[in-house]
């Protein structure tokens, strides 16, 4: 027994070593001096592009690879790094990060000389507030939340820019589209946890479906968001357990749902997996256009559309303003993304064909929402 396994180990070691040897055979790059001689043009260009500015970001527990919320924001930071030539640093939080850890992460980044720090997610609101009070010379931006005092009275700080999204407007369009597309007359939605930034998707989606019903005399129903009590809507309890998303989606499918909107970051991948097991089931992505993301490659033919929050644009623009010296903070300068300013939208038609004439109706609805003729209720409109 032991001799066999020794032989096996030797074999594995040998092949691994040869793989390493082969991998290490490439030619070394030329020395820097000669490299500068050959293509001095490009290296000079990158030198002039580099500016003395450092933008930093802290994720919430989803992490920067969540193929959704955090990743979308992180893309903005990376774009700023390559296009503006700034320095960046980031801290990714683990599942189960506490308020203390968020504070500690922001403090470290400030200590590392960041000129601007982004907090991604409302969970970081308190940490951003405390850091902003302690470091008035550093700029901060907070995604998905505004600041408040300990007693939850609103607080506005000059060095903090809140970035928020009236996602309900885009979700309304997705709901209308889903109601027009469904064959079973049953849709479903669920959240990770029922935070306001999550239920705003579900609520807008539901309003879109109800609007479609009212216009067309249909009775399309939305599972997972029944009743007005948003606290009783369906959720998986976290933003990390994909298996729970699959499980819940299968239950919805058993109840007849053929289009599902998961508002749960990476957990939504469970819905994608469930869509592969049942004929005709489609899903709607959130935060980014899931059709173009590698994490959702496997079932992209089932993606009806995505409700996009263009956070990368907002992040990029805020960094740009910091580099230019035109950064403005405070609640009066908060950014609320909506259909009118392009901060939210639904993704263009991909593989799943829309019913005839729906695209025109969606365009018309978009115009009506932008003009204020049609009002989608949300916490930003009260």
């Amino acid at each position: 027994m032991s001799t066999i396994s020794r032989k096996a180990i030797k074999g594995i070691a040998l092949s691994a070593a040869s793989a390493l040897v082969l991998a290490g055979c490439a030619a070394a790059p030329e020395d820097e001096e000669s490299a500068e001689g050959t293509d001095s043009g490009t290296s000079e260009e990158t030198e002039t592009e580099t500016v003395d500015y450092k933008a930093c970001m802290v994720s919430d527990e989803g992490g920067f690879d969540d193929a959704s919320f955090n990743e979308e924001a992180f893309n903005g930071l990376q774009r700023a790094e390559s296009e503006l030539g700034i320095e960046t640093a980031e801290v990714e939080s683990n599942t189960g990060a506490t308020l203390t850890e968020y504070s500690s992460a922001i403090d470290s980044l400030v200590g590392e000389g960041c000129d601007m720090v982004f907090g991604v997610g409302f969970a970081l609101a308190t940490a951003v507030r405390d850091a902003a009070l302690a470091n008035p010379d550093t700029d901060f931006a907070l995604i998905d939340s505004s600041l408040s005092n300990d007693d939850f009275s609103p607080l506005s700080l000059e060095n903090v820019k809140p970035i928020q999204y009236d996602t309900a407007e885009a979700a309304f369009l997705a709901g209308y589209l889903a109601a027009a597309t469904t064959e079973t007359g049953t849709l479903a939605t669920y959240g990770g946890q029922l935070f306001p930034t999550v239920t705003i998707f579900m609520d807008g989606f539901k309003q879109g479906v109800e609007y479609y019903n009212a216009e067309n005399g249909t009775e399309v129903e939305v599972l997972g968001a029944t009743g007005d009590d948003q606290a009783s809507w369906s959720n998986t309890g976290d933003f990390s357990d994909i298996a729970k998303g699959k499980n819940l989606s299968e239950q919805f499918i058993d109840q007849g749902a053929d289009i599902i909107l998961p508002v749960a970051g990476p957990v939504g991948q469970g819905t994608g997996q469930a869509s592969l097991d049942s004929e005709g089931v489609k899903l709607i992505g959130v935060d980014s256009d899931w059709y173009n993301l590698e994490a959702h490659e496997e079932y992209k033919q089932n993606i009806l559309t995505s409700i996009e929050k263009k956070m990368s644009d907002a992040v990029f623009n805020v960094i740009q303003s910091g580099v230019d010296g035109t950064f403005t903070g405070g609640d009066e300068n908060q950014y609320v993304g909506n259909l009118a300013n392009g901060g939210v939208r639904i993704s263009p038609e991909h593989e799943v064909a829309y019913p005839d004439g729906i695209q025109a109706e969606l365009d018309a609805l978009t115009d009506q929402i932008i003009s204020g003729e049609l009002v989608v209720n949300s916490l930003y409109k009260n």
Partner: protein, 386 residues
């Protein structure tokens, strides 16, 4: 029975094993850091043309990462102020406080032969009880703060004691029950944070108001540091648990139960009652970790109040070999990893997951003493007759 043998096997043997397990994990983490480093990847592509590049890139990445870990957890020699220099150590102590408290609780139950996996839920219950007292009353500090801490202890003790009761009366396996109770506790907290019981008025997010000033654990080094009085409580509990387990007759009964339940029964120890007591003490210590979080660190209740402290505590108890002082040392190590990971990431771009890998390999190595022994060529321990 098998389960108990396994536990005993993990805990018996050389006390040197934990130290080597930690060393081995850091070495393994170093390899991963080097592999994940972009400069190393680039330089290894032409290893045979210029091996020096690869070697220096490997050294740079590993030394840089562990240097940042040191600066983020113990002493930041690069900081410009004295406060900035010692702050990392205080952060480590602050993180070590709940981990060690919960670890002490688990050490008590492990020593008594009960595999309590429920520290997570017991922390949440402690935090809810302490939070309720902190939020609902207006009392003088000298009454309010101790009352809130005791409420946390009570909450954890009830939640843990219930498991003991179930085991004593129905024979329910404590491993399964405690795991399930973790979910019950978390879902209950999530629910209550949506109701006026905990949710702050005019607040749409599941967050409570901050607990009353008079119920908070006061800061130790003043503003600018997160260190709070929970540290003192934690240190006192280390001594208290040592006294309980090694000097008191109750502790003797606990340990007798852990060594051999049948012999303990024959010796006249009330086994069902001891089950309940063990789990209550164990849960109570975890509950105090929850109280320390809600009254000292976060100062408000959130869904994430227990973080992953309850699970870290399992490793900490194992690493500390269920000895209170060992648990303290292991708790400090884990506190340091938690506080140092942030700077490692901010400064060196090392993924935070490396720290998780180091923590997990520690568990792996502790659970496999022969592996550690062969890795470091340690002598085999003399066969101990159980």
């Amino acid at each position: 029975m098998k389960q108990q043998n396994l536990i005993r096997e993990i805990f018996s043997g050389n006390a040197v094993i934990p130290i080597f397990a930690v060393v081995a994990s850091f070495l393994f983490g170093g390899i991963l850091i080097a592999f994940a480093n972009e400069e190393v990847q680039e330089a290894s592509g032409y290893f045979f043309s210029r091996p020096g590049d690869t070697i220096s890139a490997v050294l740079n990445s590993v030394v840089g990462a562990y240097d940042a870990l040191f600066r983020g957890s113990i002493f930041n020699y690069q900081a410009s102020t004295a406060q900035g220099m010692i702050k990392p150590l205080t952060e480590t102590l602050a993180f070590a406080t709940p981990i060690t408290l919960a670890g002490l609780g688990l050490a008590v139950s492990f020593r008594s032969g009960l595999f309590n996996i429920g520290a997570q839920g017991q922390i949440i219950f402690g935090a809810m009880f302490a939070g309720y007292v902190g939020l609902s009353f207006e009392l003088p500090f000298l009454i309010h703060m101790p009352m809130a801490v005791l409420a946390g202890l009570l909450g954890g003790a009830l939640w843990g004691g219930l498991v003991g009761l179930l085991k004593a009366t129905t024979g329910a396996n404590e491993v399964v029950v405690t795991i399930m109770f973790n979910y019950v506790a978390l879902l209950l907290l999530t629910y209550l944070l949506k109701t006026p019981v905990f949710q702050a008025p005019n607040q749409v997010n599941p967050i409570s108001s901050p607990v009353a000033e008079s119920s908070r654990l006061p800061g130790i080094l003043g503003d600018g540091f997160r260190l709070h009085f929970g540290l003192i409580i934690m240190l006192a509990m280390v001594v208290a648990v040592w006294w309980l387990m090694h000097r008191s007759s109750i502790g003797f009964q606990f340990r007798a139960l852990g060594y051999n339940p049948s012999a303990a029964r024959t010796a006249g120890i009330n086994i069902p009652l001891t089950y309940i007591l063990v789990m209550a003490v164990s849960g109570g210590l975890a509950g105090m970790a929850g109280a320390s979080q809600v009254l000292g660190a976060d100062r408000q209740l959130t869904v994430g109040i227990s973080a992953t402290f309850g699970f870290d505590a399992i490793t900490v108890a194992l690493l500390g070999r269920n000895n209170p002082f060992g648990v303290l040392a292991a708790g400090l190590l884990f506190g340091g990893l938690r506080s140092g990971a942030v700077l490692m990431q901010a400064n060196q771009g090392v993924p935070v997951d490396i720290v998780l890998v180091v923590q997990s390999t520690i568990v792996l190595f502790i659970a496999a003493p022969p592996l550690v022994r062969s890795l470091f060529r340690l002598p085999k321990p003399k066969a101990v007759q159980a």
